[in-house]
Each structure stands twice: as structure tokens, then as C-alpha cells.
Symmetry: C2
Subunit: 222 residues, 2 copies
């Protein structure tokens, strides 16, 4: 990210993952939706998911991780260890394990693919995305719904259609027509960069780390 400046990935991922966990907790309270299936991809998106899983555990949720293709970066291993130290379980890598988990969870956190996703969807995610879509569980997607193009959205029709989206740092072009509940997180973009890139971000209230964006009606395009 060009806005990273002197930030480390550890810092950015911590704030991003915290915002993801807070968004899920805002919409799906832990009394009715305690069991969160956190689906993590192989890239930074998956790292955000691991951080979110840990914070959800701190908030009193019962998260379970499915991360069939863990990325090789050291940071993912550390983030995963932090979850293991908190006794957050990780499913085995199989699709069967994930399929079974769908029937014993209340909400899905989709941290599979991010804004740099390019088709085709590779195995096992080519099978996983339809399974998630066909489940009756609500889905919260991180930054951009998995399978969407950063500019063209779900034009290919292979992506998830989540109920809730948490955009990180700024909403991407491809999600401007997203009609579900839409939050913004990643409150670390300096004002100078916001102005330079004309991001026109909404003000965050007080010291909150997330802000809900105005909802787009079904027929309206921004």
C-alpha cells in the first residue's frame, strides 16, 4: 500500500483485523452469533482474518479458523500461533471439514481474497466459495468480497455476495454498488494522503476504529 509510509505490516494488520472484528461484532452480537467461521486465504487478507479471529476471541466469541493454503510469510505463522495460544481451533485443510463446520457456526468472516485477486479462483477455493454462498449463514467480507474484481466488482459472477462489507483504508471502485451494510476501517491514513489521493473518507466518530457508510439502495449506483 502506497500509504504505508513507515508502518510495519504488523501494525497495519493489527489495526485492520481489529476493525474487521469490531464490524462483525457490531452487526452480529455474540449472544445470537457466538460461533464465527473465519475463512482465511493465503495472502494478507488471510492475515487480517487471523488478527480478527484473535480479537473476536478476546470479545468472547468462539471463532474457528479455516486456512487451507496458509501463506509462507513469517507473520502469518506468528498470527496463527497467537490464535493457537488462545485455544482458537483451526480446522484441517479439507473441504469436508469446512463443509461440516458450516452447520455448526453462526456467521462467516470471509478473509479469503482481497483487492489484488485475479481470476480464475483456484482449488480449493473454487469449491469453497459456492459452499459458503449456499450456506444459510450471514457473511461478513473483508475489504472486498472474495472473488470480486477490484474495479469491476462481481461482473464474473464467481464471487461471494456478503451481507456486510468492511472496506479497509478506502472503499475500492468495485464495491461502490454494494448494497449490504458497509463499514470503513483502517483508520491510519494521514490527512495529507487522503487529500493527495482525493479519497474523501467520511469522518470516524470520536475515537472509533470503524464507521458505517451510507447504504446504497438496490437500484442506485454511486
Amino acid at each position: 500500500m502506497s500509504a504505508a509510509g513507515a508502518f510495519s505490516l504488523d501494525q497495519l494488520m493489527e489495526l485492520a483485523g481489529l476493525a474487521c472484528a469490531q464490524t462483525l461484532a457490531t452487526v452480529y452480537g455474540k449472544d445470537k452469533y457466538p460461533r464465527v467461521l473465519v475463512c482465511c486465504g493465503p495472502g494478507n487478507q488471510g492475515g487480517d482474518g487471523l488478527v480478527a479471529a484473535r480479537h473476536l476471541g478476546m470479545f468472547g466469541y468462539q471463532p474457528t479458523i479455516w486456512m487451507p493454503k496458509p501463506g509462507s510469510k513469517d507473520i502469518y505463522k506468528r498470527l496463527h500461533s497467537q490464535c493457537a495460544n488462545m485455544h482458537i481451533p483451526t480446522l484441517d485443510n479439507s473441504l469436508d471439514a469446512m463443509r461440516d463446520a458450516l452447520s455448526s457456526h453462526d456467521v462467516i468472516l470471509d478473509a479469503i481474497f482481497g483487492f489484488s485477486f485475479k481470476p480464475p479462483v483456484r482449488s480449493p477455493f473454487d469449491t469453497a466459495l459456492p459452499l459458503l454462498s449456499e450456506s444459510s449463514l450471514p457473511i461478513v467480507s473483508v475489504d472486498i468480497p472474495s472473488g470480486w474484481d477490484v474495479e469491476r466488482g462481481n461482473a464474473e459472477g464467481v464471487g461471494l455476495e456478503p451481507d456486510v462489507l468492511i472496506s479497509l483504508t478506502a472503499p475500492k471502485e468495485g464495491v461502490k454498488a454494494f448494497t449490504g451494510r458497509h463499514f470503513l476501517g483502517g483508520r491510519f491514513v494521514p490527512k495529507t494522503l487522503e487529500e493527495k489521493f482525493q479519497l474523501n473518507l467520511p469522518p470516524y466518530p470520536g475515537f472509533d476504529q470503524i464507521v458505517e457508510l451510507p447504504r446504497v439502495s438496490g437500484s442506485q449506483k454511486l
Copy 2:
């Protein structure tokens, strides 16, 4: 910290500094107290202060940093660069600069010494602490008021007497008789460690990163 597990300093400091900034913002609103003098020591405490300064900037405050003896760890340089990138000014290292700043600021964030402080107070902090004490500005201290002993508190009488304290991960023995407003932050201690060390931490509300502790009356000792 023994509770660090697989955590990196970047992560812990980010969450700690965020909690410090949120505590200050809870007590001293930015409309009445916009100008925050963030006084940073040479150790990890100073790092927490730098993170807090950045978040205060994001919240709309006008922080100024005084850090006369910057630590040599790379992380402090990075955290300082992040503040500079946000145009948060740093005073020159002199006591005069700090003395002048006291008259143009509304509240002090004390991130000078932490729980590993051992007397004597060395220069320039031996002069700085009395200057801060004598100013009429409210003081928010990070983890333990500067100059206090982690077990015996301000028994030596050389420490600050802040209005507000934000304990990190768990209140230290020496601050149990602190009578000001007292918050807890650093919401990253796994339940298993909390039980192992019998920390008896109060529950954080919802997904908040800070919780206010019951106030100790002046005559009462815990």
C-alpha cells in the same frame, strides 16, 4: 513481558498506544483540550507515547512530542517517522522548549517512565518531572506514573501525581491506591494467562479496547 507469546512489539505497542489515546480522549475531549503535550521517555513507554500521539492526531487532536532521549531501537525511529509523516511536531530536546510548550498546551500525556523504572531520575527528566507537576495542566500517565516504583508507588515522592492513569494489561502493585480516574487497556492477554497469573481483570465492555476501573477513595487502600 511474559504474556507476549508470539506477539511482536509492533503489535503490542500499537494496541497499547491506541488504548492510551482512547483513554485521554475519553476524559479530555478535543474541543476543550485539543493540544496534547506527549512526553516520551527512552524506553518502551516512549514508544507507547509515540503510537498514542499518532492516534490522537487521527482523532483530530493537535499533539506535540517531547522526546529528549530517544531510544535507539529501530521501532522508535519508525514510530517517530509515522508521526512526522502526519506532521505531528517534535520539540527540540531542551527543557526550555518543553517549559514553553506547557503554556500552549491543554493536557499532558506522560509516557516517560514505565514499570521498570528505578531511581534516581536522570537528567533531563529530574528537572522535567517537577516542571510537569508544577504546571496547571491535567496529566494522563501511561501504565504507571513516571517516577513511581512498580511495587511501592510514589513512596520516594519524586513521581508525578496524574489525574488519570491507564494501566496496561493489568494494574501494577504500586498503583493500587491511585485515587484518580483509572483505566485498563492492552486487551490482548489470553484468558489462560489471566487465570494462570490470577490477574482478575475486569471484563471489557463489548469490543472496547479500554475499561474504566472502580475509583479508589482517598482514604481507602486496596
